[in-house]
Symmetry: C2
Subunit: 381 residues, 2 copies
């Protein structure tokens, strides 16, 4: 570790570390959890990168394992620079404090705009793309009042409610979380809005690589980002099984407040929000309902996360694992998600061994990770 | 007591008893609570009638106390007959079982229509007079489904939601609770609807005398009747401080279920219902939400009430009370409602004495009775 102040705000990564981190998270099958476990095991991303091929081979990868190269990472950093964006690591001072707390927070976040926005307490506001006039008006009202009260308003840059929330908080600050790379904003009609956001007191963020075109399946991850960054999420109009409900589900899982605006049971745009109310979401009919519930939360100093490269005690080659142990793990797992602790108990192996063996399977593309730290074998096995 | 089967369904009053009951409840300052206490003290309404002048004199009445005469009661019974209505006493088999349970249930209920309707489990449905189209549609939907599920739908014959609820349950049965006498229905445009209700499987009910024109201040009492008769009350659209919220408040006080239909925070007709949701009302977006919550309640056999004339042990003249004790009671009371038990403790008098002294003050028009058995001196004292 080097420059940057330590303490509660985190420590800055060196340029060299940042390249290693970017290579590691962009390498095959390295998700945020594997990233964390790799850093925990090897001490640094650099050491972990050296170990990746061996680990994935042990895990039984079916195809050649690809480690992201230095020049790939440098190209992405250059793309970020051209775009006017930077990468912030999970342990660095500028990383959103609330996002750090969630399991599987992105190790590196691409950010563009007013970086200070990421360190302010956030209210997420999400809802239908085909919002009603009154829904959009209500979202704007909450966004405006929350902005005046000091919150940064985070949303997904989608049509409808998202757009209304961003627009109403342009002056006070708003964060747009993208499902693709920062240089691939979606939808096209909101590119102008995004430019306004990043030119002013707002911020665009993404955990996806530059150049990444968002696909349908990337949006839940974007929703997770909105929920993770926010102390509370307000859902204004949402149909059954809509993306906004995914955001609300993530928010509830992360222990964040979930607000839902009631609406007519005869309007399909309100079915999802009314369902949230049935599940215990806070009935929200004014910005005050949100601000009163949020006030106590925004006082907290959030602790730093566990993903940081420690000084000293690094390890460049992985601890040995045995084929027998690996077989026991594979045998213990199935398509049903189970807790890692149960795998430890079931196999009688040490936690450190189990974590490493799971990491191998993960890197080999044979492991699925689920909310709450659960794991299962990928269904193609 | 004489004809009629005893047991859980109650015992029928004789014609002579009914005239005494009607005289007693129509005499000056005799509300349901005073009625109950009088029956408890004197054993029969007939004995209580004899004691009324003396009790009110002791209580310090300022004007001549008026006991309803036999001929007045006979005239009202005749008016009921002409109207096609009957009076049912609180202890009689045809009295609504849920209404019996509330503190201050009317001792006599005037009923017109299919009397069996009063013995079926009821769902109250109330709401705005200036309902929206979708509000009226939703009320009709709940009423229809609740009717099909075997519930009688009770409402207040008002415009808007009430009308929609009655109409949608005409075939399965509906109860209209009136704020005035049964021969003084309000509003005029719903007289045709009321005729349809009473000609079919429905019922009109009132606790007010025949010939009584409803005034604004009679409507909360009508709302109380709706809440008292129903195992649950669904509120569909209600503005802040509307009558429907009074009905909901009574329902909550009586331990009944309160359902509220969510609506847009930007529609004033939904402010009251959304407030109910904030206070814990059941989020209601379909008839199933109501029926699922009601199902366990409608299984219960409700016990008989305490207001019945016992056989033997009647008493025709009131127990003596002393002026000192009365002064102590008046001194103990003030404009703030207090519990009768506290008056007992504070004065050191026996509960029987306190009840009788309070009864005297009540009959003299010097006592106000409040929800939960609380009492206060009338503010004009």
């Amino acid at each position: 570790m080097s420059e940057g102040s330590a303490g509660r705000t985190g420590v800055a990564l060196t340029e060299r570390q940042k390249i290693s981190w970017l290579r590691l998270i962009r390498s095959d099958n390295v998700g945020p959890i594997a990233f964390r476990d790799l850093i925990n095991h090897f001490g640094t991303a650099e050491n972990a990168l050296d170990a990746l091929p061996e680990l994935s081979r042990r895990g039984g990868t079916k195809q050649a394992y690809r480690v992201a190269t230095v020049s790939e990472a440098e190209r992405e950093l250059e793309a970020a620079r051209r775009c006017g964006a930077v990468f912030i690591g999970i342990g660095e001072p500028g990383y959103p404090a609330a996002l750090r707390q969630i399991d599987g927070a992105p190790p590196l976040l691409a950010m563009k705009g007013d970086l200070k926005a990421a360190t302010r307490p956030s209210l997420g506001i999400v809802g239908s793309r085909n919002a009603s006039v009154s829904g959009a008006k209500f979202a704007a009202m909450i966004a405006r009042d929350a902005g005046r009260a000091g919150y940064i308003v985070t949303s997904g840059l989608a049509r409808g409610i998202d757009t209304a929330a961003h627009r109403a908080s342009l002056e006070t600050g708003t964060i747009a979380a993208l499902a693709g790379g920062l240089d691939r904003p979606y939808p096209p009609e909101n590119i102008g809005l995004l430019d306004e956001i990043t030119a002013g007191r707002g911020l665009a963020i993404s955990e996806m690589p530059f150049g990444w075109e968002p696909r349908a399946r990337d949006f839940p991850r974007r929703n997770r980002l909105i929920a993770g960054i926010s102390l509370g999420v307000a859902v204004v109009e949402a149909a059954h099984r809509s993306g906004s409900l995914i955001t609300a589900r993530y928010a509830a899982d992360f222990g964040r407040l979930v607000f839902a605006v009631p609406g007519s049971p005869l309007d399909p745009r309100c079915h999802g929000t009314n369902d949230l109310l049935k599940q215990g979401a806070i009935v929200t009919t004014s910005a005050d309902d949100v601000l009163e519930a949020m006030a106590p939360l925004s006082q907290f100093e959030l602790p730093l996360p566990s993903v940081r490269e420690p000084e000293g005690q690094t390890q460049s080659s992985p601890a040995a694992t045995s084929d027998n142990d690996r077989a026991a793990i594979v045998h213990a797992l199935g398509p049903t998600p189970v807790e890692t602790d149960d795998v430890v108990r079931h196999t009688g192996l040490s936690p450190a061994q189990v974590y490493l063996l799971l990491l191998e399977l993960d890197l080999a593309g044979r492991l699925d990770r689920h909310a709450g730290g659960l794991v299962s074998l990928t269904s193609v096995e």
